[in-house]
C-alpha cells in the first residue's frame, strides 16, 4: 500500500493509540513547502524511459499515459530527475 494523506489527525488522548502501533502509511503533512525550485516536465521531450521515476529518492514520479508525471505534494525539488533525464525533458523552475 502506498502511504497517503488522511483527513484526520489523531490528537486527543482517546485518538492516540494504546501502544506505539498505528495504521501503516498514515500521512498528515505534505513536503511541498520544502522546495525552492520545482521540476517541470516537457511532455513532448519525455520518452517514458522511467529513469527519473527509478532514481527519485521520494518516489514522487509516476507514469501517466506513458510519460513521467510528478506528485508536487511530496516533491522536495532535489533536482536528481533533471540530471538523470537523458532527453533534457525536465527543467527546474523557481517556486514563486
Amino acid at each position: 500500500m502506498k502511504p497517503y494523506l488522511r483527513n484526520k489527525i489523531p490528537s486527543s488522548p482517546e485518538e492516540i493509540p494504546e501502544n506505539t502501533a498505528y495504521e501503516a502509511g498514515y500521512l498528515v503533512t505534505k513536503n511541498a513547502g520544502w522546495r525552492n525550485v520545482k521540476p517541470v516536465i516537457s511532455i513532448g521531450k519525455c520518452v517514458g524511459c522511467l529513469n527519473c521515476y527509478l532514481y527519485c529518492p521520494d518516489g514522487v514520479i509516476y507514469q501517466d499515459n506513458g510519460k513521467a508525471a510528478i506528485d508536487y505534494d511530496f516533491c522536495k525539488g532535489c533536482g536528481i530527475c533533471r540530471k538523470i533525464c537523458k532527453t533534457g525533458a525536465i527543467e527546474m523552475e523557481a517556486e514563486k
Binding site: P3, T20, Y22
Partner: protein, 295 residues
C-alpha cells in the same frame, strides 16, 4: 524475469518521509521495498530512515515496519522472522535497513549473531559514510581523509585518519549464503541483488553506498552522479559473495580521476595532494586484492 523500471512494483511503500532533499539512503530503502513488495516487514534502527519516516502521526511506510534499538536491527529481525515462522507464516521478507554506524559499529555484534545462526533475513546497510542523523560524526565506514564533525580538518589532523572498515569481507568471512556490495548510482545492479537476496534461504547482506548530500557537501541533485562516480574511480566496487566465492560484477576499464571525485565534495576539500596519493595507493592495493581473489 529481469527487474527494471518497467517491471518494478509500481507501488511506493516509503513515501512522504522527511529525509533531506536528494537523500541517497531513502532511495535505497524505497527501491529495495519495491523489489521485495508488500509482504515485507522492515526493521529500522534509530537513525536517519527511522527518524524521517516514523514520527507519529506521520508514518511513512505503507508496508509493515518497526523501529528497533540502535544495536538491535539484526536481533529484532531474528525475532520477527522466528515469531512469524512459529505461527506458520512463511511468505514474507524480514528486511533490515541500517546505516553505516548502525551496521559496522553498534550493530555489528547482533549482525554477526544473526549470520552465525543463518537466520532467514535480508540485512541492507545503507552506507552514507558517517553518523548523519546526529550531525555527521565519524563511523567506522567513514573513509580516510573525510572531514566530519568529530574528525575536523585542521592544521594538525586532516580529517579521518582511518580507512573504511571492510564490512563486505567481514560478513563474507562468516560463510554467509549471500553478500553483495552495491551503489545507488547503479540502481539496476542494486535491484538485481535485492531480488537475488529475496530468493536465497538464510542470511543475506547487501552493503549499498548511498551518498548524503548534506554530509558529503555536494548539491542535492548530485547524489546519484557521485554514487556512480565512486564506483567509476575505483573507490567502491560492485561485487557479490556466494557459495564461498567472491565475484566482481563491474570492472571499470580505466578508473576515472579519483582526485576529481574527492575534490568536488566539501568533506574532502582540505585534502593535500599527498593525502589523495595515499587514497589512490590504497585503492590500487585493494584492486590488486580484488583481481587476485574475486572472479
Amino acid at each position: 524475469m529481469a527487474i527494471n523500471a518497467k517491471t518494478l512494483d509500481k507501488t511506493e511503500y516509503f513515501y512522504g518521509h522527511k529525509a533531506c532533499a536528494g537523500c541517497g539512503g531513502s532511495l535505497a530503502v524505497r527501491i529495495a521495498l519495491k523489489v521485495l513488495g508488500e509482504r515485507s516487514i522492515a526493521v529500522l534502527p534509530a537513525g536517519c530512515m527511522s527518524a524521517v519516516g516514523f514520527n507519529f502521526p506521520q508514518l511513512c511506510f505503507g508496508n509493515n515496519a518497526i523501529i528497533s534499538t540502535f544495536a538491535g536491527t539484526a536481533s529484532m529481525l531474528t525475532g520477527v522472522e522466528a515469531g512469524l515462522r512459529a505461527q506458520g507464516i512463511k511468505d514474507f521478507h524480514a528486511v533490515g535497513f541500517a546505516g553505516d554506524g548502525g551496521t559496522a559499529d553498534i550493530g555489528i555484534q547482533a549482525l554477526s549473531g544473526a549470520i552465525d545462526r543463518n537466520d532467514n533475513i535480508i540485512y541492507i546497510c545503507y552506507d552514507n559514510e558517517a553518523y548523519m542523523n546526529t550531525g555527521i560524526q565519524k563511523s567506522s565506514l567513514t573513509p580516510f581523509g573525510a572531514k566530519t564533525t568529530t574528525t575536523p580538518a585542521g592544521k594538525n589532523i586532516r580529517g579521518n585518519l582511518r580507512p573504511k572498515k571492510n564490512m563486505f569481507e567481514i560478513v563474507a568471512a562468516h560463510g554467509i549464503p549471500y553478500a553483495a556490495t552495491a551503489s545507488i548510482g547503479y540502481i539496476n545492479d542494486f535491484m538485481r541483488k535485492v531480488q537475488k537476496a529475496s530468493e536465497i534461504e538464510g542470511t543475506k547482506f547487501i552493503h549499498v553506498l548511498a551518498p548524503c548530500p548534506t554530509g558529503w557537501g555536494v548539491p542535492t541533485d548530485a547524489t546519484v552522479d557521485i554514487a556512480k562516480e565512486v564506483v567509476d574511480c575505483g573507490l567502491w566496487y560492485l561485487a557479490e559473495y556466494e557459495d564461498g566465492e567472491f565475484k566482481l560484477n563491474h570492472r571499470p576499464s580505466v578508473f576515472t580521476d579519483a582526485g576529481e571525485y574527492l575534490r568536488k565534495q566539501s568533506r574532502f576539500r582540505h585534502l593535500k595532494d599527498e593525502d589523495i596519493e595515499t587514497i589512490i595507493n590504497a585503492r590500487d592495493k585493494k584492486w590488486d586484492f580484488i583481481n587476485k581473489n574475486f572472479k
